[in-house]
Amino acid sequence: MIEVRNVYKRYRNHYSNGWVLRNVDFTIPRGVSVGLVGRNGAGKSTLLRLIGGMDFPDKGKIVRNCRASWPIGLNGGFQGSMTGRQNVKFVARIHGNGQSVDEIIRQVEDFAEIGGAFDEPIKTYSSGMRSRLAFGLSLAFNFDLYLSDEATAVGDKAFKEKAARAFKERVGQASLIMVSHSEGILKELCQAGIWLNQGEAIWFDSVRDAVDAYHQSIKPA
């Protein structure tokens, strides 16, 4: 469903121009959810952005044979000066596949449960409220593949449970590529795992093995 073919990526700026991703190559079959692990700065978000089509690789290519969401996470995806409702309306219009805009707004409002703040500018939101809205918004569209970049990390307990439940309901119809530092949710929702280490991606058929390998690597010697 997703083919990542010999992908290289670097960001050129005044400070460094080293490769963030080097020769990353894997295929994610249909219906398999994948957990991405690795230390901070290993390129997890970069890889997710590439898969989501927000950014392009410097070398290699990515083949996407499905409807993939945008990377759902803390930053990006919202315009701070617009209210929650306006942002939702905007995204509904962009993705509008015959789904009614009003229907989507109602659905997101119900899921996010942020009350009156829905009509306040996003810049006044707490990070938890933002993630509730972002997550609710992505669920309003029927994507085949959801990309989550710590989407639930700052949510409270009730929201985390709700988010996990929403995903379990979709098993079979949609799969997930998930960046997370919380093992529990990775093991709960994902089957396979990818460990990003020094720009290279290592595929594990079981997410437990990926998490274990990652933990081995950071264990103090």
Binding site: G52, P71, Q79, R93, I94
Partner: protein, 259 residues
């Protein structure tokens, strides 16, 4: 799967609604300033002319209509360029959706600005006519063509500046600085046909001057403009500028998005 055109169209629709709301509802005076700016300039220039003792400014056209047409025409160009400077940055959060390209907000802003400025011009024309000034265009089709040329010129400039100012912020500062000299050199407020021919021939390199004067020529039947004013010259600037602007947007699409 939707076709590319359908996706682009829905992006433009969504951005247009967002920009229109932000532009007109941003603060309580947003609407007010659109009219207040040209009106304020007209009032100031009338005061200046009274002080100078009613100098005959423009030949073949009434002074106030001459001023209204020139000012709104220049503002159409200026807003196209200046509003584009912030267009990419202001919508940075929305590039998370891969359907939205950095060129989209620039095009949408220019379209919106064109519509708003056209409304302003129409309302000012109606207002001035009701006050008894002779401002109805003598050649309406010509006026529309010249108006559209100014809009395209602003869009061409805007497309280029949007890339330049987003990648190199100083580019935007310099562009803003050049707008005052451009204002004077385009003959929007002060007539230039009284200047010596030696100076005029250099002023005529400025396409905005050509466009503003062509707009006035089609508004006022007996108007005497600078010799050599030509709408074709405007198009020779506008179309290559649009082409260059679009090319820059393709070349730097990733850099603009990733900023």
């Amino acid at each position: 799967m939707r076709s590319s055109w359908l996706v682009t169209w829905s992006v433009w629709h969504a951005l247009f609604m967002r920009e229109a709301l932000a532009r007109t509802m941003a603060n309580r005076f947003a609407w007010f300033w659109m009219f207040a700016e040209p009106v304020a300039f007209v009032v100031i220039m009338i005061a200046v002319r009274e002080l100078l003792g009613r100098v005959r400014f423009a030949t073949g056209a009434e002074f106030i209509p001459w001023l209204i047409v020139g000012l709104t025409g220049f503002f159409l160009f200026r807003e196209g360029v200046l509003r584009s400077i912030g267009a990419v940055d202001a919508n940075q959060g929305l590039f998370a959706y891969r359907q939205v390209k950095p060129v989209d907000p620039v095009l949408v802003r220019n379209t919106l600005e064109g519509i708003l400025k056209t409304l302003v011009l129409v309302i000012l024309i109606v207002g001035a006519s009701l006050l008894g000034h002779d401002i109805l265009p003598a050649d309406p089709l010509g006026a529309i063509l010249a108006w559209a040329s100014l809009w395209l010129l602003g869009m061409g400039g805007g497309l280029i500046v949007a890339v330049g100012a987003t990648l190199v912020p100083e580019f935007g500062v310099v562009t803003k600085l050049t707008m005052l000299p451009m204002f004077l050199l385009s003959g929007a407020m002060i007539p230039l046909h009284a200047l010596p021919h030696d100076i005029q021939q250099y002023l005529l390199y400025n396409p905005v001057l050509h466009a503003v004067e062509c707009l006035r020529l089609s508004f006022f039947a007996g108007y005497r403009s600078l010799a050599g004013v030509n709408l074709m010259y405007v198009w020779c600037w506008a179309l290559p500028m649009i082409a260059l602007g679009l090319a820059l947007h393709i070349r730097f699409a990733m850099r603009l998005k990733a900023k």
